[in-house]
Amino acid sequence: MLEVKGLQKRYGRKKHVLRDVTFSVGLNEVTCLIGLNGEGKSTILKAILGLIPVDAGTVTVDGKTSRDQIAFVPDLQTMPSYMTIGQALTYMTDHYPDWNSETAERLLQTFQLFTTDKMANLSKGNKAKFNLVLGFALDRPYILLDEPLAGIDLFMKEQIAWIFSSEFMEGRSILMTTHEIAEVEQVIDRVLFLRDGKIVEVKETDELRGRHHQSVQDRMREVYQG
């Protein structure tokens, strides 16, 4: 289980970005972190990954502070532009002992990406797809996704959202931030609503749909628009 306890983050003396953020992500669970722009969603992911120092709080995976069980799918390009996809895969093989080349190849085929494609020439949608390859081809049970569908056209979104109901999800736990709820609503198990740097509500999607007859988007409107 990925456990986040009491995360606090300030920028300067005044700006309190995260306030005692506490939640957990269970095995085989898709958790979505929802919030308006600037609420601290990406900051939480960065804090979990150790990409920013926090003022207080702990992150543990199955009781350990090591982050080597977490993969990250950012919403930006992290491989140098001069590289081809093939070179980027070699980079991953060289650096990551838990890199799974077989999974990477299957994903590349599914997404119709080619090893000769240059990073610099990839469209935004293909960059997002390749980021998914880089995250899902690591044999790690926890995957963090930061806005995986942002700024991408509808058809590309559908192709990308497919992964959340594919065989690549087996044995995985997902924590993602997104504004594109409609595309992923059906695969989400749990929603965390973030407001002013605090988790203000945690809802199981089954409960929302069954008991309250609400979609995540409906609930989102209530939480943020009152």
């Binding site: 920028y11 300067g12 960065k46 990954l49 150790g50 990409l51 920013i52 120092p53 080597d68 990250f72 950012p74 930006l76 390009q77 992290t78 491989m79 140098p80 532009s81 001069y82 980079y91 060289d94 650096h95 990551y96 002992p97 990073m119």
Partner: protein
Amino acid sequence: MKRWLLLTNEELKRSTKLLVLLISGLIVAEIASLLYQIYDYQHSVEATMRIEQISELDAIEQGGGPLLFAQATNFYDSIIVLAMGMIVLFAFWIWYRDWMGETKYIYRLLLLPGSRRAIVASKMTTLLLVVASLIGIQWVLLLLSRTLYLWLLPDAQQVTASINEYSFYMKLFYTMYPSDILFILLMTFIVISFVFMTVLLERSFRKSKAFLLVGLTAIALIAGWIVIGVTLSAISNDLSQLHMQFYLGYVVLLTLYVSYKNLRLVQTRLSV
């Protein structure tokens, strides 16, 4: 070790275009300055001969003698200082390019498995390799310049001397003594460590705190010079002769602390 080598290889690959540009610029600038000096000297000798109606030897005598190799390569020092300035800028760029631009490679670097110390080590190694290659290129340029100098100037207008004499004129950068090369690399390591610290502080803290810490380091460097000078003079006049050596020792110690601090910053404070 493997990670350090892999990352160094990656840093070099990412810098290839810039380094080719820098090295080409250095070669072109030095050869162009040498050709200009030779052309200028010959032009002035010919002008003196024509105006004064005297022989070539008299014109050379009147112009202050033959063109020394040290004179012909007069601009080399400035060009080398410029190249060193470019290396310092490169030391900033080698970090900032990972945050700036379309690619945020810093995410990839910081998320690599294992210790982050390899990141600092690979960037430092890249810079030291660049400086070492520049020293090598400079040496080749010296030999090439000497050949051009001997080939382009008539015997009466040149001074033939062994390469060691030329090296003597060109001082540190033109010698290939291992101790000199090591000294240059040590100086590079010191300067680059301070540049790295400035970048890492700026990327780890708010601007004001980063400026404060960089300022304190600058004060430590200046204060060290004064305190060591005053202390040595107070103890003995003989010791004050060793001011520079003592100060260099102090700077090396300070550099060791700065290097340790850099590794700590990358491990615990650096932010994306």
